[in-house]
Amino acid sequence: MPHTRPPATLLDLRKGEEAILDRIDLPDDVSLRLMELGFLPGSRVAASFRAPGGDPRVFRVDGTEVALRCETAARLHLRPLPKPDAASAT
């Protein structure tokens, strides 16, 4: 097991870190609302500012910033960014 696991959900993203949205594990009406705001599977998501206290958090997606509570962010699953080249070792 590597020491630093890749972030599994939006909640695991550190500030400034980026990943690809894989799937949304939420009821249809909520996930549709999120998709309209840019959270489409396959799009890049980055963590941005947090409210004082750490919850909710702001995420950068599709040219905009959207605030989500931690409990919601934990339901948006990620996959790592495609490697730009093979040079970066794990």
């Binding site: 309209e36 396959g42 909710p56």
Partner: protein, 628 residues
């Protein structure tokens, strides 16, 4: 990037659409929709409600040179036309001509934020599918240029099958193209095939492809927004800035408004004297000078304070700070069982509970929505401001507390705002852990970039507010003043008006006196409490009329007369009473409409009334004991 290049090139052989008569302005939230609407209609607009639903409809008129007058409808901000929320349903119904009482639009202005073109262009698919002549208005052209972005307007128009204008609604750049379009002077490109509307990922791909074909270069990220968020959302500095903003608002309400209020006061006094001299001695003069000038005039004095409050609210809203405030507040709201989205209606309840209660429709969860409606009237609305400042100024001498930053009077006012907020929070907690318990709903809120509020936008808002305030002074308060003057002048004794204590008004006041005596109020305050059931600030007009009839004609003596009728403990009790009681017909009416029945408004009125009485009683006893 100039206006002329916005004209599509492929107008060959195709005439423009016939000149339009009903224009709908459609667009996502934060696209600058209202700014464009304000530019189109200016002062010629009004706010109404769509029949049967709670969505506000903004209607306006536009005349282009000497051509026919156009009706302009500003629709709610939507991300899609899937009728899931009430906003989207209304938008779709109006566009399809299915909304009763609203003419079917024959032209659409679809306004999109060009700094975020990819995502906003998704809305173009369902709107163009309606088949109406549509101009795609790409807003924020200045912002795009400043941040180094670019787009080829003609190419985009060709690929979209609709004319495109690149404008800045705030500065007016490129605005002429919009007018040209409305006059039917712009050709419409050949329609193109649109993607399947119910497939969101495919629509987004379509939008991205169109952007690429139009050589769309997204602008650099908004540097200033990042910098400002670094401050406003800082774990320590953020809440401190929030607090500083609030304190500054209250201090300004007292200090900056004072000279303006003096001015209005003197104008009211002088015009009253003038009218008094012109009228012959008799009942008519008494009615006009004591009844109308005394009643309406004493409320008019507070217009500057209310405008300053709205100026601040407008600046916070237009700049984009409000979304950050909601973010900061979400955790606190979550603790009482509500969510950050409830915070925005609650914040606007500081202006007035009526629009705040209508704004709760953005809350998807019904129980959260009712809880927010029930606590909104606890927030200190602008109608309480005249009552508060009158009593505070009469009983509390002004002394600096924090140097020139915060005086005693502003601090007392701030305290009353906190009191109302605390009552709201406790009530929410009780409601959400009992009758309105529900699962937590997700909080999803877009953070718009910070924008510089424009003079035009803020000015229009203040103009609108003055109109509302003056209309109330001219209707509710005028009617109550005349009614009260009448009740204070009958029954006549030997053909002469009675002492006010013996009049009908006095009798009514004396009847309720036993009920309010434990709170330290006498029958004159009692009359004020009854008339203020119509609207809170009416009590100021009522006291003005009563003291006017009693013969204290000097304007400043309203404060002196009040000191004669209330002990300091009674004054505190009166403030607490006004903080809690639901004295507002309009609010009761809007709660009935929003909740679809009398159950909630009756419950709310009773609860707030009992709380007001008990709170005032406790305050009266406490302060009496403290001062003894």
């Amino acid at each position: 990037m100039n206006a002329a290049s916005n004209l599509p090139v492929r107008a060959a052989g195709e005439a423009g659409p016939p000149p339009s008569r009903v224009v709908a302005v459609v667009g996502p939230p934060n696209s600058g929709k209202s700014t464009l609407f304000n530019r189109l209609t200016g002062l010629r607009q009004k706010v109404a409600n769509f029949p049967g639903v709670t969505v506000e409809q903004h209607l306006g008129k536009l005349r282009i040179e000497d051509e026919a007058e156009l009706d302009v409808i500003d629709l709610p901000g939507v991300y899609s036309l899937n009728p899931r929320s009430e906003d989207e349903r209304v938008t779709l119904d109006v566009l399809m001509g299915r909304m009763e009482g609203v003419p079917r639009p024959d032209t659409i202005l679809l306004i999109l934020d060009v700094t975020n073109l990819g995502r906003h262009l998704v809305l173009a698919a369902p709107v163009l599918a309606l088949g109406l002549p549509t101009l795609i208005v790409l807003n924020m052209a200045d912002e795009l240029e400043r941040r180094g972005g670019d787009v080829q307007v003609e190419e985009l128009a060709r690929r979209l099958g609709a004319p495109v204008a690149l404008i800045s609604a705030a500065s007016g750049e490129g605005y002429d193209t919009v007018l040209q379009f409305l006059r039917g002077r712009i050709g419409i490109p050949r329609p193109v095939e649109l993607p399947a509307l119910n497939d969101l990922p495919r629509c987004r791909e379509w939008a991205a492809r169109l952007g690429a074909e139009a050589k769309y270069l997204p602008p650099a990220p908004p540097v200033w927004t990042r910098r400002l968020d670094g401050l406003f959302l800082h774990p320590v500095a953020g809440p401190l800035v929030f607090l500083a903003v609030v304190v500054a608002v209250f201090q300004t309400i007292f200090s900056a408004a004072a000279p303006l209020m003096d001015l209005v006061d003197r104008a009211v006094g002088a015009s009253g004297d003038l009218v008094g001299r012109l009228l012959p001695e008799g009942p008519l003069r008494s009615l006009v000078v004591e009844g109308i000038w005394g009643g309406v005039g004493s409320v008019l004095v507070f217009l500057p304070q209310i405008l300053i409050l709205f100026l601040f609210i407008g600046l916070l809203e237009d700049s984009g700070y409000l979304a950050r405030a909601a973010l900061i507040a979400d955790r606190t709201m979550a603790k009482v069982g509500l969510q950050g989205k409830s915070f925005i209606p609650l914040l606007s309840a500081y202006a007035c509970a009526v629009p705040a209660i209508m704004a709760t429709r953005t809350i998807e969860n019904k129980r959260d929505r009712i809880a927010t409606i029930l606590i909104a009237p606890f927030m200190t609305c602008s109608a309480r401001l005249p009552v508060y400042t009158l009593i505070i100024a009469a009983f509390l001498p002004e002394r600096p507390l924090l140097g020139p930053l915060l005086g005693t009077r502003a601090a007392a006012l701030l305290g009353l705002y906190v009191l109302g907020f605390a009552a709201a929070v406790v009530t929410a907690r009780v409601l959400k852990s009992s009758i309105l318990k529900s699962e937590r709903t997700p909080f999803v809120l877009e953070m718009p970039p910070y924008r510089r509020p424009t003079l035009r936008q803020v000015g229009l808002r203040l103009f609108d507010r003055s109109k509302v305030f003056l209309r109330r002074a001219g209707t509710v308060i005028l009617a109550m003043s005349i009614l009260l003057w009448g009740l204070a002048h009958v029954p006549t004794k030997n053909g002469k008006a009675p002492e006010i204590a013996d009049s009908f008004a006095g009798t009514i006041g004396r009847t309720v006196e036993p009920l309010i005596e434990p709170l330290g109020f006498n029958w004159k305050i009692g009359i004020g409490l009854i008339t203020s059931l119509a609207a809170r600030e009416v009590i100021v007009g009522t006291l003005g009329t009563i003291y006017g009839i009693e013969g204290d004609d000097d304007g400043a003596s309203l404060q002196a007369a009040l000191r004669h009728d209330l002990t300091p403990a009674g004054a505190v009790a009166l403030l607490v009473f006004f903080a809690f009681a639901m004295q507002c017909m309009s609010t009761i009416a809007v709660v009935r409409r929003e909740t679809g029945g009398w159950t909630w408004p009756i419950l709310q009125f009773t609860y707030m009334g009992v709380l007001a009485w008990v709170g005032a009683f406790v305050a009266f006893r406490l302060v009496t004991a403290l001062l003894a």
